[in-house]
C-alpha cells in the first residue's frame, strides 16, 4: 500500500514527486510512456513567464509569480539550465500601448518585480533586430528560459534516487475507491494507494471522471513552432511577445538555452490531445505573424518544426482541487504551467496536509544532482576529464559537442534511457543543426552495446518507434 500515487510524469508530476520525496512517504509514480517528460512538457515555449498575464489576485497569478521566483534556485539545485533573459511585450500602435499599461498594472498587482514600460528607442536599444515600427514595450526583468525536459529529468532523478517508485510504461486505465484506499489498474498491474494525485496532462480528464463528478473539460489546443539554427542572425536576446489582441495571443520569438531561436506557437483546437503533427497552414501562420516582431527572421535556417498540445479547458484557469478520499487534481495545467510548477508542487503539499496527510521530513534528504557536461567545462577540466576517462575524449554529437562519456553517464543515471531521444534529453546529443543525422547511428550503437540488446530493439522515441529492422544478411555474419 502506497501513501500516495502520482499519475503522469510531466513537469507537474515531477515537481510534486520531488517535493514529496522530502518526507517519510511511500510514493508510487505511474507514467504510461517509456520515459518522463513526453507530454506537453517536451514541446512548448520553455519560457518562465514573469506573471503579468493572469488576472490580478487570481490563484494562477500567485502560482505563476511564486513559481518564477523559485525557478532559478530549483534549476540550480538539480543542475538544469536557467537563463534570466527578461521579456518584452511589443506594442505596434496606440491600442497596444494601452494594453501595455493595463498589463503593467495587472503585473504590479500580481507582485511581478521591476516591470517597466519602455519607449521605442529604449526598446530598440535592447533588441536591435526588432521591427522599427514598434512604438514601445513592457519590459519584465524576471522572465527567463529553461529546458523543460531537462528540469523535469533533474527533479525526477532526485525523486527516484530519494525513493519515489517510478513505474514507466504503466498506463493507468481504471481507478476505483475501495473501503479505505484507491485501487489503480494499469494494462498489466494493480496498485493500491491511500491518496492519488492526478497530473496526467491530456489524460487527466478521463482519470478524474472515474474518480469523481465531472468538473472540467479539456480543450486540446495545439501550437506549432520553428526552431532556427544557432549563430544565425538576426539573434534576439529577450523573450519577445506580441500584445494579446483581437487577432489572438500573438506569436513569440525567443532565444533558447542553446542559442537557437524559437518561434511560435499558434493556437488550434484539435480533437486528439496527442496529435503533435505540424501543418503547412500552422507554420505559415507562425512565420507570417512572427515577422511583424522581427522582420528579417531567416526561416531558411530552420532545423526543426514541432508542435505541442496545451491542456486548455473551458475557462482560462488551471483545474486544481482536493476532492474527497484524498483525490487531488492538478489538471488543465496550461501555460504558464512550467513557470508555476515549483509553486504548484508546494501548493499541492499544502492541500494534502490540509486533507490530513502527515508529512515528516526524512533525514538525509538531498535535493541536488550534478551532471557533467564536457562542452561547458574549462580547458583544464576537459583535460582532466579525458585523463580520468578516455570516453570523454570521444565526441559523438558534433553539433553540440557531446562525448561518449556523457552518454555512458546518462545510461547509468537513475532513470535509464531506452531511446535515442531519451539520450538527447539527458545529454543534448542530437539537439543541434543536423538533428541526429550524424550521431544517431553512433548513439544507437552505444545504447545497443551498453544495454546488451540487438540494434533492432533500440527506439527513436516512444515504444514502437524502432529505427532499424535487424541484420542485413544474417546468414553471412558470424
Amino acid at each position: 500500500m502506497y501513501d500516495i500515487a502520482i499519475i503522469g510524469a510531466g513537469i507537474i508530476g515531477a515537481s510534486v514527486a520531488y517535493e514529496l520525496s522530502r518526507y517519510r512517504l511511500k510514493i508510487l509514480w505511474l507514467e504510461k510512456e517509456n520515459d518522463v517528460s513526453l507530454g506537453a512538457t517536451r514541446a512548448n515555449s520553455a519560457i518562465v513567464h514573469a506573471g503579468y498575464d493572469p488576472p490580478a489576485g487570481s490563484r494562477m497569478a500567485r502560482l505563476n509569480v511564486e513559481g518564477t521566483r523559485l525557478m532559478p534556485a530549483l534549476c540550480e539545485a538539480v543542475d538544469a539550465h536557467y537563463k534570466n533573459t527578461g521579456s518584452l511585450v511589443l506594442a505596434f500602435d496606440e491600442r497596444d500601448r494601452s494594453t501595455l499599461r493595463s498589463l503593467k498594472e495587472q503585473g504590479d498587482a500580481n507582485g511581478v518585480p521591476g516591470l517597466q514600460v519602455l519607449n521605442r528607442e529604449e526598446t530598440l536599444a535592447r533588441e536591435p533586430a526588432l521591427n522599427p515600427d514598434i512604438v514601445g514595450s513592457l519590459y519584465a526583468p524576471s522572465a527567463g528560459i529553461i529546458l523543460p525536459w531537462e528540469l523535469t529529468l533533474g527533479l525526477a532523478e532526485v525523486a527516484v534516487r530519494e525513493g519515489v517508485d517510478l513505474r514507466l510504461r504503466q498506463e493507468l486505465q481504471t481507478i476505483r475507491y475501495e473501503a479505505d484506499h484507491w485501487k489503480l489498474e494499469t494494462q498489466n498491474e494493480t496498485y493500491q494507494a491511500r491518496r492519488v494525485i492526478n497530473a496526467a496532462g491530456q489524460g487527466a480528464e478521463k482519470i478524474h471522471r472515474q474518480a469523481t463528478e465531472p468538473a472540467f473539460h479539456l480543450l486540446p489546443t495545439r501550437g506549432e513552432y520553428y526552431l532556427l539554427d544557432k549563430a544565425v542572425d538576426p539573434q534576439v536576446s529577450h523573450v519577445l511577445f506580441q500584445c494579446p489582441g483581437p487577432l489572438g495571443k500573438g506569436i513569440l520569438v525567443t532565444p533558447t538555452i542553446h542559442g537557437n531561436t524559437l518561434i511560435g506557437p499558434n493556437a488550434e483546437l484539435i480533437e486528439d490531445g496527442e496529435d503533435t503533427s505540424t501543418t503547412y497552414a500552422g507554420l505559415a501562420e507562425v512565420a507570417q505573424k512572427a515577422r511583424r516582431s522581427v522582420p528579417n527572421l531567416r526561416f531558411g535556417e530552420n532545423i526543426r518544426h514541432f508542435s505541442g498540445v496545451r491542456a486548455n479547458r473551458e475557462v482560462d484557469d488551471f483545474y486544481i482541487a482536493m476532492h474527497d478520499k484524498g483525490f487531488l487534481d492538478l489538471a488543465a495545467i496550461k501555460s504558464p504551467g512550467l513557470s508555476a510548477a515549483p509553486a504548484i508542487a508546494l501548493y499541492a503539499r499544502e492541500l494534502l496536509e490540509a486533507d490530513g496527510l502527515e508529512v515528516q521530513p526524512r533525514e538525509g534528504w538531498n535535493g541536488r544532482r550534478k551532471v557533467r557536461r564536457f562542452a561547458e567545462r574549462s580547458p583544464e577540466d576537459k583535460a582532466a576529464m579525458v585523463d580520468a576517462n578516455p570516453a570523454f575524449g570521444r565526441v559523438i554529437c558534433r553539433c553540440q559537442t557531446i562525448t561518449e562519456g556523457e552518454i555512458l553517464e546518462a545510461i547509468r543515471s537513475p532513470i535509464p534511457p531506452v531511446s535515442i531521444d531519451a539520450i538527447k534529453r539527458r545529454t543534448g546529443a542530437g539537439l543541434g543543426r543536423c538533428q541526429g543525422g550524424f550521431c544517431g547511428p553512433r548513439v544507437l550503437e552505444i545504447l545497443s552495446r551498453e544495454l546488451g540488446v540487438d540494434p533492432a530493439e533500440i527506439l527513436q522515441d516512444k515504444d514502437g518507434s524502432y529505427i532499424v529492422l535487424g541484420d542485413n544478411r544474417p546468414e553471412v555474419r558470424i
Binding site: S277, Y280, V386, G436, G464, N472
Partner: protein, 424 residues
Amino acid sequence: MKTQQYDLVVIGGGPAGMAAAVSAYDQGVRSIVILERDKQLGGILNQCIHNGFGLHHFKEELSGPEYAERYIKDVRARDIEVRLESMVLDLNSERIIQLVSPSHGFELIEAKAVILAMGSRERARGGIGTPGTRPAGVLTAGAAQRYVNLEGQRVGENIVILGSGDIGLIMARRLSLEGCKVHACVEIMSEPGGLARNIVQCLQDFDIPLLLSHTVTRIEGKKRIEAVHIAKVDMQMRPIPGTERRVACDTLLLSVGLIPENELSRAAGVELDNRTKGPQVFENLQTSVPGVFACGNVLHIHDLVDHVSDESARAGRAAAAYLSKQTDTAGGDLIALEAGRGLRYTVPQRLHLRPDLEKLDIFFRVTHTAEEQKIIVESGGKQIALFRRVHVAPGEMEKITLPAKVLAEIQPGAKLSLRLEAAL
C-alpha cells in the same frame, strides 16, 4: 596548458585533407599533422562502397574505399603525422586549435598554416520543412548508407526517397539490391539534383519512378512512419491542390542537399559565401584569414571526388608557398569575381592579380539545365574569354581555366564576370 606547434595542420582526413597534406609535403613542408575525428582516414568515401570514383584522376573505376586507400598509402609513405579519433573543437583567427581525443585528451595546437577540409553534412528534415508527424524511419540518405553499408542493418522495406541528390540515388539502388521496394524518388525541382549517370544506373535500371516537380507534403505515422503524401508543385514550388496522393511506406530517405561544415571556419572569423555556404577564397584557396586555406566539400559541394583531390592538391601547394613566404597574398590588384546570369556561384570569389599568376581555375554551377551554351568571361565590359558547352546542368560542377594571356586582359579595379548564354 602546453601548446604544441606545427607548420601545417590539416583539419579533416577525407580525400580533401589527404590530398592537401600530401601535396604540401611534396612541396617541402615537414611539420604536418592531419586531424581526423573518425577512427580511420578516408572521410565519407568509407561508406561509399559503390563504383564510380577516380574516372578522371586515376582513369579507372574505383569504389570509395579503394579511392581512399590510394591516398592513405600516399599519406603513409610520407612523414605526415595522422591523429585519428581527434576532434577539433575550436579554431581561432590566431590559428590556435583546441582538440580532443581519447588517447591524448584535450590539447592545444598552434599552427603556422591551417587547411580546412572538414567536408559537409546532410540537410535534415527541418531544413526543408516537411510538415506532419515526427516518427522514426525518416532519415538522411547518408545515415541510411552508414547503417546499411557499415553496420549491416536494414533500415526498412518500403522506401520513398525525397530529393534526387546523388546519395539518395545511390541508396535507391543499394536498397533495391538489398531487396527493399523503392516506391519513388520525389524531386521538387523540374530537374534532378544528381549526376545524369546516377539517374540512369540507380533509378531507371531498377524501374524506380523519378517524380520531378513533386514533393512530400505530409508525413504520417505516430511511432514509425506509415505513409507520405506526395503532390505535384507549381512554378513557385507550391503543392497543387488536388494532386495529392498517399503512398504507404515505412521509411523516408532525405537526399536534399549537402551543407559545407563550417562551424570552425566561422569561429575563426573566416568570411563565408551565402551561396556556397563555404569560405570565400582567393585564387590560391586562401580564406579571408591569412594562413587559413580551404578545399573539398567544406569549400563548395563537389559531385566528383576527383575534383576534390585536384583542388586540395592546389590548397596544399598554396599553403606550402605561404609557409615559405613565396607568395604574398596581399600583393597585386584585388579583383572580385561575379557570378552573372545563369551561374549560381564561382570559386574562387576573388583574386589577387599578380604578374606571376600562370593560370586561373574557376569552378561554378549553373542555375538550370541547358543545351548548347557559351560561358562568357568579361572584364570592364569587355569579353576576354569564351567557352562552349554542349550541355550544362545544376547537378554537374563546371570548371574553366583562364590562361596567362587572358589574365593579362583583366582590367584592374573592375569585376571579372561570368555568365551563361545560348550559343545559337
